[in-house]
Symmetry: C2
Subunit: 376 residues, 2 copies
C-alpha cells in the first residue's frame, strides 16, 4: 500500500474519468460514492456491512463529532478509524455547512463562526484553524477546507463576497493544515451559478494548491437542472490530475449526470436516510415499502439485486417490519440502498473503462423509465 496520497486516472470517456486514489489506508476507486457516517456510524449498518456493499471510503461530520463525543476524546481513544471500527479512508467535512444548517445562534465574522450546539446549546467556535485542528484530531485522511456557503436565494454580490472570504479561508486552511504526508487537503470551489465567479474561485484555489478540489454550494436546493448547468463547465476549471468532489450528491440520476460531467467523488445521506423511512432505490426507481400494495408480495425489492434484503426477504416481509417499527426494516433497506448505490458506481466505472458510458446511461434511463414492477 502506498504511503502517499495520489490520484491517477486510468481511463476517460467524454468528460467522465475513472481511476484510483491511493492512500495509506487503501485505495478509493473513482468515481466513488461515500456513505455518510455522521456520528461515527453509518446509521443502521455495521461497518463490515458497509464495506461489503463496496464502499472504499466513508464521510464523517466534523460538526457532529466535535460536539459529541468531542474531537479531543476521539484522539485520546485512538482516532476516528479505530473508534468506529473502520480502517479504510475517511473524509471529514469542515463543519461549516452543518453549522449553517443545524446549529442555533450563529455569529459569522472574517475570523470564523461562533455557534450554539444543537445537542446541549453550548457555545463553540469554528474557523479555518480550529477546523483543521479538529479534523487532525479525528485523524481523517481527506480534510476539507473550512468554507462558507451563503443561504439561497442570494444576489451575485452576496455570492461573490462569500466566495472571496471562503478563498481567504482556503489559504488559512492550507497554512494551518501544515505538512501531513499521506493526508490530503481539498479546496472547495464556490461561486453559485455564475461561471465567472466559479472560475475566479477555481483560480484562487489552484494558486494555493490542493490535493483535490470540491465543487461546493450545489445540492442545496437549486434543482438538478441548475446543478447540471454548473457541472457543464465548473469541473473544467479544475486541474485534470486531481480528484473532483461534488459535495452532498445525490439521487442516482444526479450521480450519473455528475459522473458524465467529470465528477470523481460524491457523498450523500440519501441511501441511509431513505432506508430508515421505508424508501428503497432500485434500478427501476424508488419504492415506498410502506405502501399497502406490498403486503402480500412474495417478490424481492429487485430480482436482480444480490444484497441481503433482496436475496433473503420478500416485499411482504419488508412491508411488515416497516409497519411494525422493527429495526431490521432500517437495517435491510439501508443495506439495499447502499448496495444499489455502490453497484451503480461500479457500473459507471466499468462503463468508462470500456468506453461505453453513453450506452450505460441509456440503459440506466431505460430501466428507470419502466418504473417499479407491477403489483402481483
Amino acid at each position: 500500500m502506498s504511503d502517499k496520497f495520489q490520484f491517477s486516472v486510468s481511463a476517460t470517456d467524454g468528460r467522465a474519468r475513472t481511476g484510483v486514489i491511493q492512500t495509506p489506508r487503501g485505495e478509493i476507486r473513482t468515481p466513488a460514492f461515500m456513505p455518510v457516517g455522521t456520528a461515527a456510524t453509518v446509521k443502521a449498518m455495521m461497518p463490515e456491512s458497509v464495506r461489503a456493499t463496496g464502499a472504499d471510503i466513508l464521510l464523517g461530520n466534523t460538526y457532529h463529532l466535535m460536539l459529541r463525543p468531542g474531537a479531543e476524546r476521539v484522539a485520546r481513544l485512538g482516532g476516528l478509524h479505530k473508534f468506529m471500527n473502520w480502517e479504510r479512508p475517511i473524509l471529514t467535512d469542515s463543519g461549516g455547512f452543518q453549522v449553517m444548517s443545524l446549529s442555533g445562534l450563529r455569529k459569522l465574522t472574517e475570523e470564523g463562526v461562533t455557534f450554539a450546539s444543537h445537542v446541549d446549546g453550548s457555545k463553540h467556535f469554528l474557523s479555518p484553524e480550529t477546523s483543521m485542528e479538529i479534523q487532525r484530531l479525528l485523524g481523517s485522511d481527506i480534510v476539507m477546507c473550512f468554507d462558507e456557503c451563503p443561504a439561497l436565494p442570494a444576489t451575485d454580490e452576496e455570492v461573490a463576497k462569500s466566495m472571496r472570504m471562503s478563498m481567504r479561508w482556503a489559504q488559512r486552511s492550507r497554512d494551518a493544515f501544515g505538512d501531513r504526508p499521506g493526508h490530503a487537503l481539498f479546496g472547495i470551489m464556490q461561486g453559485g451559478v455564475t461561471p465567472e465567479l466559479r472560475e475566479e474561485s477555481a483560480e484562487a484555489l489552484k494558486s494555493i494548491g490542493f490535493e483535490g478540489y470540491a465543487i461546493g454550494g450545489l445540492a442545496v436546493g437549486e434543482g438538478q437542472e441548475a446543478m447540471f448547468g454548473v457541472l457543464d463547465y465548473a469541473p473544467g476549471f479544475l486541474p485534470e490530475d486531481k480528484p473532483r468532489y461534488l459535495m452532498g450528491v445525490g439521487k442516482p440520476d444526479d450521480i450519473v449526470g455528475a459522473v458524465v460531467r467529470g465528477v470523481d467523488m460524491m457523498d450523500c445521506v440519501l441511501p441511509s436516510r431513505s432506508g430508515r423511512t421505508g424508501q428503497a432505490w432500485t434500478r427501476r426507481g424508488q419504492v415506498n415499502i410502506k405502501n399497502a400494495r406490498h403486503a402480500d408480495d412474495t417478490r424481492p425489492l429487485d430480482e436482480q439485486c444480490t444484497c441481503p434484503a433482496c436475496t433473503g426477504y420478500s416485499r411482504a416481509y419488508l412491508h411488515h417490519v416497516f409497519r411494525s417499527g422493527e429495526m431490521i426494516s432500517g437495517m435491510l433497506l439501508t443495506w439495499h440502498n447502499l448496495h444499489y448505490f455502490q453497484e451503480l458506481m461500479a457500473g459507471l466505472r466499468g462503463a468508462i473503462a470500456a468506453g461505453r458510458l453513453s450506452d450505460f446511461v441509456a440503459e440506466f434511463e431505460a430501466q428507470r423509465a419502466q418504473g417499479d414492477i407491477e403489483p402481483l
Copy 2:
C-alpha cells in the same frame, strides 16, 4: 437430518441433563436458550447473526403474529420460517399469555378468550382450537398448548380452578393439533407454587401425552426464590424422556439455577430488550453502558468475549452511540447479550457432559461476585 421430533439425553449431572432434540429443521442442543423473535424478527438482529451467536431455535409470538401480519398471510407467504429468513426450528407460544398482558378488553370463558388487539383495537378470539390453527398456519415446529395463567396474587382456589381449565384446554389442544409428523405439541404445567396442584397438573398432562412439557406460571413476578422453590420439585413430576421447558426465563443466574434443577429449554426477551436500553450482560454481571464512567474507557465490555461488540469496539464507543441514539448501539449490545447467553448455555452443556456442573456454577458465581471491571 431426522424427519421425526425426538429428544435424547446424552448425559446427566445431578438433576441437570444435556442432550439433543432432533427435528426435521435441525438439532436443538439442550439445555437451550431461545431468543425471542416476537414480530418475525429478533429485534436489532439479522437472523444469520442470531444463528452466529449459537442459537438453534427461536421463539415466535402467536399473539403478535396473528394480529400483524396475520397468520393466514404468513401461511400464504410460505410460512414463518421463509417469511423471516430463519430455516431452523421455531417454537410458538399459544398467545394466551400475551392476551393477558398486552391486549385490551378481555372476556374469558370456558370456550376461550375474546380480546381487543393492541395494534388497532379490532376484536379477536383465541381458544385451544384457534390457537392450534394459527400455530399450524405459522408453521411452527414446536406448538404450545393454549392455557390460562392467573394474574398474581391469586388464592389457591383460584390457581386450582384456572389450572384445571388449562388441563381441559390441554386436552382440546391435543385433539385439535391432530397428527403432524415432525411437529411437536408441548403441554404446559400450571399450579402456582403449590406442590399438590403442580403434581395434579403434571398427571393430567401425562395422561394426555405430549412431545414435551413446559413449566408455566413462573417468571411472572414471584421472585427467584419462589421460582427455584417450585423448580426444586416440579421437573420431577414430568417424564424423564421428554424436554422440559421453563417459559420466560430469564436472567443468567435464573438460567443456571433452572438448568441445575433439570430444565432443558428456556426463552426470554431479556438479552434483546436489555440491548436496546443500553444494558449489557457479562460474566461479571450487568453493565449500564449509558453510565458516564464509560465515556473514555478504551476497554471492551468483556475482554474474554469474542462477539463483534467486544472485538471491534471500546466501551467509549458503545457509550457514545447509545447516548447519540444510534441504531448500532442496540445492534451491538443485543448481539453481545445473545452471544453471552448462548455461551453460557454452551458452558452449561459442556459442564454437564463432563460431570463438572458444580464447578461450573461455582466459577459462574465467583466471576459475578467480582462485579464489573474497575473504571480506568
